[in-house]
């Protein structure tokens, strides 16, 4: 049996993350995947999707609403369990640590759903790594801007070359055991106080 008959719904306001999960599921042979990123009219859209498995991120405040929906709605086939297997505590802990939760309708074979959840956990981690890399890249970019500005100030104040200005920043950073961007920020702040930054 292939996984392709299962209908999977991803509820995630983060469209990038939802797309990453979807891609993974498609690669694994799942074709019936729906994504909800817009939380208005959630109930009707869940009913329309008629999912067997729902994957939702833990940041979504609508989890309480979702669980109530499963409990009382007649229109939605009731996912009876969160996760596949209450006794698989390691899997549950791994999912919650990754920031994802899943709801599953009754009667599905454990192995099939477990594979989907494993994949979702992996993709959540992957997304987290991408986000961290992006943060680092942003930080580096802003560091470089700060250093460039400090270099300009030093060149003007001390009438030195760009190379000399950079080397001065680097030496100071090394001797004070600080990041070069921090030293550069100090230069900019100081120049503001003394009004030597004319630009």
């Amino acid at each position: 049996m292939t996984g392709s008959e299962l209908s999977i719904l991803i509820i995630d306001e983060n469209r990038v993350r939802a797309a990453i999960i979807e891609e993974g599921l498609r690669e694994a042979g799942h074709a019936r995947i729906a994504i909800i990123s817009e939380m208005s009219g959630l109930v009707r859209r869940i009913e329309d999707a008629a999912p067997d498995v729902i994957v939702i991120d833990l940041e979504n405040p609508n989890r309480d609403m979702l669980e109530d929906l499963f409990r009382v709605s007649r229109a939605v086939r009731k996912p009876v369990a969160m996760f596949v297997d209450k006794s698989d505590t390691a899997m549950i802990a791994a999912a919650i640590a990754a920031g994802v939760s899943a709801y599953v309708v009754d009667g599905l074979r454990k192995e099939r759903v477990k594979a989907i959840l494993d994949l979702a956990i992996g993709r959540f981690h992957a997304f987290e790594r991408i986000r961290e890399e992006l943060e680092t890249a942003k930080q580096e970019l802003s560091d470089r801007k700060v250093v460039d500005r400090a270099k300009g100030i030093l060149m003007k104040m001390k009438r030195i070359s760009e190379e000399e200005a950079y080397s001065l920043l680097r030496q100071t950073a090394m001797s004070q055991n600080m990041r070069i961007a921090k030293i550069a920020e100090g230069v900019i702040a100081t120049s503001k106080i003394f009004g030597s930054e004319s630009k």
């Binding site: 833990l58 549950i92 919650i96």
Partner: protein
Amino acid sequence: MTCKPLIPVRAGFLPLVDAALLIVAYEKGLAREEGIDLHLSRETSWANIRDRLSVGHFDVAHMLAPLPIAANLGLSPLDVPFIAPMALGLGGNAVTVSTRLWTALAASGASSDGDPLRVGSALGAVISARRDRGERPLTFAVVQSFSGHHYELRYWLAACGIDPDRDIAITVVPPPLMVAALKSGRIDGYCVGEPWNTAAVQDGSGRIVTTKSSIWRSSPEKVLGVTKEWAEANPGTLAGLLRALHRASLWCDDKNNAAELAAILAGPSYLDLPEALLLPAITNEIALGDSAPRRIDDFLIFAGKAATFPWQSHALWFYSQMVRWGQVTPSAERILAARLSYRPDLYRHALSGLGVAMPGASSKIEGALSERTHLPASRGQLVLGPDGFFDGVIFDPDRIEDYIAAAGIHAALHKN
């Protein structure tokens, strides 16, 4: 000063005024005085609180009072036993309706003083009129199925002859999204904790029609939730935390601290909201609509009247409502499981050295005190009450079956 290393305790909370005890225990250094390094994590849903507590991401949590009971009755997705060794106050909720619905209620005789009976009668009339005109049923929102909000809303409606399952629709909306849902017309009213009633009033989109304290005075709302496993493995740390929370409750209860408490709760890592939204609940001076704030005694009680004592009769009342509304089928074992979800023994043990007036019993007859009553306690005098239900019905925890049978859903009232 001792050099004993602090014991880390991780606590989850939802950004609501009644998370105050945990926040103050940290901010005023009260947890630290007990040797506890309290780490607070703001969460976005009660489901997250439950799940993170279950898998051990949190050691303790700010929790809806019925949630530990629901977990122990197998109504929760994960089978992890919870206990409530302490309550985090009494009251604090209100029922808010859209200005549009309020206009209709006022025209049908609702009083503007928050009287649940008169508002409820008017609501019954509005519901009948809507039905006659073929309009859709009104929709009310609560924050979670296993919540004080849900049960007090249903209790109030049913006692006013409104069948909460047939005459209206009840849905779940997260607290911070309530006002937007009301504005959009998706819901007509809601029952929620503060500051989300005041938020609709200040915003002009809603009106508070009654309060939890008017429906059932001095009634349970949030507890400290702990897994049974963690409580058993860390008895000393838990006792220290309960003492810190007790001191926090006294600090929060002191009206001289109201402004500072509002300022603390307003902080970016806590509620992250203007202080003006938080002060009404803290001072019990509530504006119901566009008129001046009025004093509502016991709207929210942080300490006093044994506000943090985990009464087993409270747990049993929640159980009775779970049965009443078909969430669980009744059994003697479930009664026992519900009762043992609340642990006054741990509370007594932790606070025994502090000279706190402690109730001698673990259960009481709810709704029996029509006025302030001095009771003999293990130490000094304990003041309780008034604690009445607005319809005058009394809950005797030793006669749960009778109580549930008599309550029905009051549908008989409505049929003619």
